[in-house]
Structure formats: structure tokens, C-alpha cells
């Protein structure tokens, strides 16, 4: 079943243009690969509704969501950093995913605790963001996104600030929650090898265009186009 569809999406900014079509099946885990500056973050912002395209359509399960405001879309976007508010504790930051007023009812409290346990940060509830490590901050942000109960999760370089050990942990966690919550994932990265275990689909992106797409293993072992070959250094 078709999940996210991007139809002739077009976006212009001084010195940069984006022009693409793509289909992400529901429940798929897609890697968006490209050098920094290729427009990956811009594409995520377009899908999430922080930017509006000049032309083209964004569809979710056959429904046009192109002109919906960010909060009306069936998705959450995790940023590279600044995902947590510095003045709130981890617990409160996550609570925001359930209730902007921060007042939780009994069952909501349980839900929150369950989620904190699932992503492995329930022992850090009273800490402030500046007291946490990069990985712990990412987990907290992920927990909050999951509580929003949106079927599509966009992640902008989620592995960027993490060390090698933590990256592996994070990938396992993502894999786990994606299956558990039946999510559709779109993850940007510039190091596709690492995310091989996670993804079932890959888009290679350069200068605002999708140049090649396919299963990540095939693409990485036998890159077709010269641009991808150059990017991978083979």
C-alpha cells in the first residue's frame, strides 16, 4: 500500500532548486543519502510542513497533505540538535508529546512511564538536557515523538552526534520501535553503510534531485550512476 507519495515536488531558493518524485510504501524504512548541502534537510522540512513547495503534491495514503500546517500532518520530525527545551526536565520534555499543558491523567502517566522504559531513559527523568549525553537526548526526543502517535517518523541525521557504540544502539532502538509501532521511517544520513541493517530502501540525492533509488545493499555494492560511485569513493 502506498504510504508517502511525493509528486513532482518543486522548491526554489536562491542558488538552490529541488525537484523530485518518490514513493515510500507504508511501513518501509527509507534511507535518504547525499552529501551535506544536497538538500536533505530541506526535503524533510517540506514534508513536515515547515516549508511549502512551489509546485507539486505531498500525499499520505492517498490524501493530499501539501497545504496542511505542521501539526496537522501525520508525522513527526526529529532534528539533529535542539530537540529538547533547555528549561524543562527530561520527563517534562517527553510529557509535551502527550499534553502541551503538562497535566497528565492517571493512564497517561502510565503511558509515559512505559515509553520512558522502552527507550531506556526512565532513570534520567529529573535531569535537565544539559546534564544528558547526546544519545540520551536523542532517546528522549524519540520517546516524545512516539507518544505523539504519528505513523510517519522523519529523522534528520539521528546518528550524527553519536559515537560508534551508541550509533549501533540507536539503530537497534529505531528498528525496534519502527516494528513495534508500525512506523514508516525516513532517515537522512551521509554514511549509508551504517544504516544498512535498518533500511529496506535507499534514495540517493544530489543537488535537489533523486539520482538513483533501490534496495540499499544493491545500490551500495553495485552503484549505477557515476555520481553515487564518486560519493561512495569507488
Amino acid at each position: 500500500m502506498s504510504g508517502l507519495e511525493l509528486n513532482n515536488l518543486n522548491f526554489l531558493r536562491e542558488g538552490f532548486s529541488l525537484n523530485l518524485s518518490a514513493v515510500l510504501p507504508q511501513g518501509s524504512k527509507t534511507l535518504l543519502v547525499g552529501a551535506s548541502g544536497a538538500g536533505k534537510s530541506t526535503l524533510l522540512s517540506l514534508i513536515a510542513g515547515f516549508l511549502y513547495p512551489k509546485a507539486g503534491k505531498i500525499m499520505w495514503r492517498g490524501e493530499d497533505i501539501t497545504s496542511l500546517p505542521p501539526q496537522g500532518r501525520p508525522l513527526t520530525l526529529l532534528f539533529q540538535e535542539h530537540n529538547l527545551f533547555p528549561h524543562l526536565t527530561l520527563e517534562k520534555n517527553v510529557t509535551l508529546g502527550l499534553q502541551p499543558s503538562l497535566k497528565l491523567k492517571g493512564e497517561e502517566k502510565e503511558k509515559l512511564q512505559e515509553m520512558l522504559k522502552k527507550v531506556g531513559i526512565s532513570h534520567l527523568q529529573t535531569k535537565y538536557p544539559f546534564e544528558l549525553s547526546g544519545g540520551e537526548r536523542q532517546r528522549a526526543a524519540l520517546a516524545r515523538s512516539l507518544l505523539c502517535q504519528k505513523p510517519l517518523l522523519l529523522l534528520d541525521e539521528p546518528l550524527g552526534p553519536l559515537g560508534p557504540g551508541l550509533r549501533k544502539e540507536m539503530l537497534e532502538l529505531l528498528n525496534f520501535v519502527a516494528d513495534e509501532f508500525k512506523l514508516t521511517l525516513l532517515i537522512t544520513t551521509h554514511q549509508p553503510e551504517e544504516a544498512l541493517s535498518l533500511a529496506d530502501h535507499m534514495l540517493f540525492f544530489e543537488e535537489g534531485r533523486i539520482i538513483e533509488s533501490g534496495p540499499p545493499k544493491t545500490l551500495l555494492s553495485a552503484p549505477g550512476c557515476p555520481e553515487l560511485r564518486k560519493y561512495l569513493g569507488c
Binding site: Q71, P100, P129
Partner: protein, 454 residues
């Protein structure tokens, strides 16, 4: 009730209520401007926010009286509060917008995803991150209101609305009574210090590990657009009044040779004092100590009359210095609270972010300045220079103590014309003075091309 106690209470009362009105309005204005920064009227408004600060007090008050006078009796307590509101809320907005730049844009996107209402965005996200600058601006405006002199004298109408500044002026310059003067100064210091301690106790939130280059988020909020228009009105309306008064007499004003003499004298003063003030500010920022910090707050802590008197009497004692030295010191004290704050934060960020890199590159301090510090400090530097040029032009009070030269500056000329009932001509001079203030305020930004986006 004794006179001292009465004056003390009134000073506190008017400053307290002025802050209570001015700071929230300034924050609302700042927020509307931040939320619509791509909008044309906003960009125009951002350029004008500094104007009330550099407008000579009496000129602004005249515009205010003319406009507000249609609606109610401005010679009252309410009139004083409203005048303070009009003159200082744009300054509050200017100050707050600079702090707004440090909120990461991601937080706005996050708030949108989390379905925050506009009110929740402010309470949950913006306000907590702006708490420190809010408290600081509340203290700065509180001190400025304690020092309010011209506004209170014109609109106050008698001894029942007297501030410590006025009482101090009386005991230092009219009936020379230094003991009573010290008494008043002590009371005022008590007021300004009590709040200063409060500000220091308020710790700011630790910034995230990565210090972003300050920039305003790209947001849009049609709901807040009326506030932008309101801000523009607040700034422009009093100026339009002055302009309209001077319109018909403008030819007469312009053909007066004295105006041009005054203009060149004013330019000479501000052109020499302004840059000098800024160089000293830079030195103080670079070698920041408790001493430089307190020097930068001196004008806020002490009434200008006391500072002026102090310098004046010192100038008599040390008469081997020409009076210009003391005039300069006075100007420096006036400019410092603003220029020091404008430059301090960017400079600190620069040190934290780039100092290790430039050390590891082995740059000499001169290279460091030209390659790294200067390009990144250019913008706040231009603003501070503009402010210090314009402030060196507009203030009457400090000039009056030291030098009444044969050729008057524009502000002295304005007073002379007023004193001889030349209403239209004095308004013409006021208008030219205003234009010159604005021109000097913008000049460094044009020269240093800080408006060009990089």
C-alpha cells in the same frame, strides 16, 4: 510625611508602574516583530526601534503632548506613565529582539509539531528562555525611570510629583546643600541597587553546547501583525507631529546660517566623542572586570544630575584639564550602558566558539582581530557606534554643565530658540536634529554594510 520619604515613595511608584506597563508592551512588540520578520513593515520598524532612545526628550514629549492631549489630561500621573510607555517600549523591544536570536529555530518547529497554541509557545518555550534578559531589561528600564527628569518635570506639574533626580538637582545646583543631596542620592542608590541584586541572583539557563550564530527564526503570524503596525505608530506618530510643526517654517530654518554653524559644531562633537566612546567600550569589553561592569552601569545606578555635578566639581578642582575632557567622560557614562551591553554578549560567544581554533592556528592577536573578531563583531559594533554618535548629539543636560560655547550645538540652539518664543523655528531645528540623529545612528551600518546578508 517628610519630603525625602515622599519623594522616595513617588520615585519608586512611578518607576514601578512604568516598568509594569512598558516591559510587557515592549515584549509584545518584540514578539510581533520576531514572528513577522520577513514582512516589509517589520523590516522598516526594526530600523526605527532605536529612535525613541536617541530622540531628545523634550522633542519627544512635545509630540506626545500634542497627540495624547486630544484624549486626556497628559499633565498627570497617567500622562507620565503613558509618556514613559511611548518612549521606552521600543527600546525594550530592541533589547528583547537581540535576545530572541539565541532561541534555536528548531524549538519553534518542535512547538508546531507538538500542537502548542500561540500562548503555550510563549509560556512553555519562549518566556523561560528569555527570563534572564527580561529581568535585566526590567532593571535597566527601572533605573532609567528612576532617572527620568524632563518627562516628569514637564508632565508632573509641581512638587507633589517629584522624583529623587529633581530633588537632587535642586540641592546640588540651586540651593547648594550637599548633605541633602547625598541623602537623596543614597535613597536612589538604594532603589537601583535593590533591583540590581535581584538581577544578579537570577541565573541564566546554560546555553546548549553549540553556540549558534544568532539569527531570527523564519516565522509568520498574521494575528500579530497589528502589533507591528502599532509599534510603527508609536515610534512615528510623535515624530510626525514635530515634522508637521516645522514643515511650513522649514525654508526659514534652512536659510538661517546659525543652523548650519550649529550643525557643524554638533557633528564635530559627536564625530569626535562618539568613536572615542566606542573605542573605550571595546577596551572595557575586552578586559571585562567587575570594574568595567560597574562603570558600564554607573549611568543607570546614579542619577545623571549627581554624575554631572560630580564631574563638574572635579573639573573645577582639576582645572588643568580642558572642560572637554569632562564632557567626554559624561558622554561616555551615558553611552556605556547601551554600547557595553550590545558588544558584551557577541564578544563572549566569539571567545568561547573561536578562541581555541584561532589559538591552535597560531594567529597573532592582530590577525585574530582582523580575520575573526572584526568580521563577526561588525554588526553589533555598527549599532553601538551609531548609538554612541547619536547620543553624543542629543543630550542637553550633560552639555549644560561644562561648556556653553560661543557657537551653540543644535540642541543648545533649539533651547535658545524656544526661550525666545520661536516656536516654528525651534521645531525646525528639532526636526533637523532628529534627522541628524537618525542619520548618524544609521551611518556606521551603511558604511560597514552590515545590512548585506552574508
Amino acid at each position: 510625611m517628610s519630603y525625602s520619604l515622599y519623594v522616595f515613595l513617588f520615585t519608586f511608584k512611578q518607576a514601578f508602574f512604568s516598568v509594569l506597563l512598558t516591559v510587557p508592551l515592549g515584549i509584545l512588540m518584540a514578539r510581533a516583530l520576531v514572528w513577522n520578520q520577513g514582512w516589509k513593515p517589520t523590516r522598516f520598524c526594526l530600523k526605527l526601534l532605536g529612535i525613541p532612545l536617541i530622540t531628545p526628550a523634550l522633542v519627544g514629549i512635545l509630540g506626545f503632548i500634542t497627540l495624547a492631549g486630544y484624549f486626556f489630561n497628559v499633565y498627570s500621573f497617567a500622562g507620565i506613565l503613558l509618556a514613559h510607555l511611548v518612549f521606552y517600549s521600543p527600546f525594550v523591544a530592541l533589547f528583547m529582539i537581540n535576545s530572541w536570536r539565541f532561541i534555536p529555530e528548531e524549538h519553534y518547529r518542535l512547538s508546531a509539531q507538538l500542537h502548542f497554541s500561540p500562548w503555550q509557545i510563549f509560556v512553555r518555550m519562549e518566556a523561560p528562555q528569555l527570563r534572564k534578559p527580561m529581568i535585566e531589561i526590567a532593571w535597566i528600564t527601572f533605573c532609567l525611570f528612576l532617572n527620568s527628569f524632563t518627562t516628569i518635570m514637564v508632565l508632573g506639574g509641581g512638587p507633589h510629583r517629584t522624583t529623587l533626580s529633581v530633588a537632587l538637582y535642586q540641592s546640588l545646583f540651586f540651593f547648594y546643600d550637599p548633605v541633602q543631596g547625598l541623602n537623596f542620592a543614597g535613597l536612589q542608590l538604594f532603589l537601583s541597587f535593590s533591583l540590581a541584586v535581584g538581577t544578579i541572583l537570577f541565573k541564566s539557563l546554560p546555553h546548549g553546547s553549540s553556540l549558534k550564530i544568532p539569527a531570527l527564526p523564519s516565522l509568520k503570524s498574521n494575528l500579530q501583525k497589528p502589533f507591528v503596525i502599532f509599534s510603527l505608530f508609536l515610534i512615528l506618530a510623535p515624530l510626525m507631529v514635530v515634522a508637521s510643526f516645522s514643515f511650513f517654517s522649514l525654508p526659514k530654518t534652512l536659510f538661517n546660517p546659525m543652523l548650519w554653524q550649529a550643525l557643524s559644531r554638533s557633528l564635530l562633537i559627536s564625530g569626535s566623542m562618539g568613536p572615542l566612546c566606542l573605542i573605550l567600550t571595546l577596551v572595557l569589553v575586552k578586559y571585562e572586570t567587575l570594574f568595567s561592569k560597574s562603570l558600564a552601569s554607573l549611568y543607570l545606578l546614579l542619577p545623571p544630575a549627581l554624575l554631572g555635578a560630580f564631574l563638574f566639581y572635579i573639573s573645577l578642582e582639576w582645572d588643568f584639564f580642558p572642560p572637554e575632557v569632562f564632557l567626554f567622560l559624561m558622554q561616555l557614562f551615558i553611552v556605556l550602558p547601551f554600547s557595553f551591553r550590545l558588544l558584551k554578549e557577541p564578544y563572549q560567544i566569539l571567545q568561547v566558539t573561536y578562541l581555541p581554533t584561532s589559538h591552535s592556528l597560531g594567529l597573532s592577536s592582530l590577525q585574530r582581530f582582523f580575520l575573526i573578531e572584526w568580521p563577526l563583531l561588525k554588526k553589533p559594533f555598527a549599532t553601538a557606534l551609531g548609538l554612541s554618535l547619536a547620543l553624543s548629539l542629543g543630550d542637553f543636560q550633560s552639555l549644560a554643565f561644562f561648556a556653553a560655547p560661543d557657537i551653540p550645538g543644535l540642541s543648545s540652539l533649539l533651547y535658545m530658540q524656544m526661550g525666545k518664543y520661536n516656536f516654528e523655528e525651534s521645531m525646525g531645528t528639532a526636526f533637523i536634529l532628529l534627522l541628524l540623529c537618525y542619520f548618524l545612528f544609521q551611518l556606521p551600518q551603511w558604511i560597514l554594510r552590515t545590512n548585506v546578508r552574508t
